[in-house]
């Protein structure tokens, strides 16, 4: 029981001791704040969101974000504010545009390509007779019963 409690407290503490202790009176605003801080990149420490980073830029941007939310700015307006200053790179979810088309289409192309390859491999294997494969009666797989 004690061990279980310890385990649970460890799991929970992760979110309690988050870098950012910011809170809002309005839970809806707080939810938007949490969502936005985890969709914006901190450019000072490029692989962290501004919600996860302790860098000074991230702190400043969180403060800015909080002020904009309290001023009633929409998510789109906030994202525009960020991209105007730091470019698309600041968004963890880049917009779909001609210049980002490769980025968005590449996974699909790879998936379709892999699918086609798998299809042909399976079809080729399927045409092979099971008699060709080694089994108990025929350990070396050569019965001469191949078509």
């Amino acid at each position: 029981m004690k061990k279980l409690l310890l385990l649970v407290s460890l799991l929970v503490s992760n979110s309690l001791f988050a870098i950012d202790g910011e809170s809002f009176d309005d839970p809806a605003l707080h939810a938007r704040y949490r969502k936005l801080t985890h969709e914006l990149r901190c450019l000072q420490c490029q692989n962290e969101t501004i919600g996860d980073s302790n860098a000074t830029l991230a702190k400043d941007l969180r403060r800015e974000l909080r002020a904009m939310l309290l001023a009633g700015k929409s998510d789109a307006e906030i994202q525009q504010f960020m991209t105007d200053r730091y470019g698309d790179f600041v968004l963890y979810r880049p917009p779909v545009a001609t210049r980002t088309l490769t980025l968005w289409l590449a996974p699909g192309i790879v998936l379709v390509g892999a699918g086609i390859a798998v299809f042909f491999i399976i079809r080729r294997r399927g045409s092979q007779s099971f008699d060709d494969l080694p089994d108990d009666k025929n350990p070396d797989g050569s019965t001469g019963a191949a078509p």
Partner: protein
């Protein structure tokens, strides 16, 4: 049949070549993944009106520099790279090609000594700036999209951002990246002003 065994080797070779090439470019300074192109390039420079570090009773206003090419250098006394580039800035200021305006930013909201530190820095190490604005709340730095001081911007006579350099500026980088652009801007504005 042979291709089947050759293919993994080809894929490995292609990856090896790609990674090797990018590492090589990173080593030689041609490519730095930390440098992100500023969306401000070709756009009007963000305006600010802030108190002056040299004389906090006065203001530094970007509108005062409209009509001339100038350089904005973002720095802070807490920033190691700024200390490193300071002699280069003094040398560049000595050339008197364009005025250098400073934007002194504090490290974070708990940093309350930056103004005093900056004044000391300028009197001790020399002042390359025609004026230095004090960005007390970090808002101006955010408006300029600053993510790693020192950063140096080139602003044209119309008040548009023409170029941005991230990281410590050297005299060589100045000669290679800034001087040709300044000359180009000057030639362009002369040509443009012809009736």
């Amino acid at each position: 049949m042979k291709l089947r065994f050759l293919l993994p080797l080809l894929i490995f070779g292609a990856l090896f070549a790609t990674f090797g090439f990018m590492l090589h470019r990173t080593e030689n300074g041609g490519y730095d993944p930390k440098i992100i192109q500023s969306p401000l390039l070709g756009k009007p420079a963000p305006a600010f009106r802030l108190i002056s570090v040299e004389d906090p009773t006065k203001f530094v206003d970007t509108r005062d520099y409209l009509g001339q090419i100038y350089v904005l250098n973002v720095w802070g006394t807490w920033c190691v790279g700024c200390r490193q580039e300071h002699p280069a800035l003094l040398e560049i200021a000595r050339q008197q090609l364009v005025p250098i305006v400073g934007l002194d930013t504090r490290q974070d909201s708990s940093d309350s000594n930056e103004l005093a530190n900056a004044q000391q820095w300028l009197s001790r190490l020399g002042n390359p700036y025609v004026a230095t604005a004090f960005d007390a709340d970090g808002r101006a730095a955010i408006d300029w999209g600053v993510y790693g001081a020192p950063e140096t911007f080139l602003i044209d006579a119309k008040g548009y951002v023409a170029y941005k350099h991230v990281g410590p500026l050297s005299v060589e980088a100045w000669q290679q990246k800034f001087v040709p652009r300044i000359e180009q801007l000057r030639a362009g504005s002369v040509a443009g002003s012809k009736p």
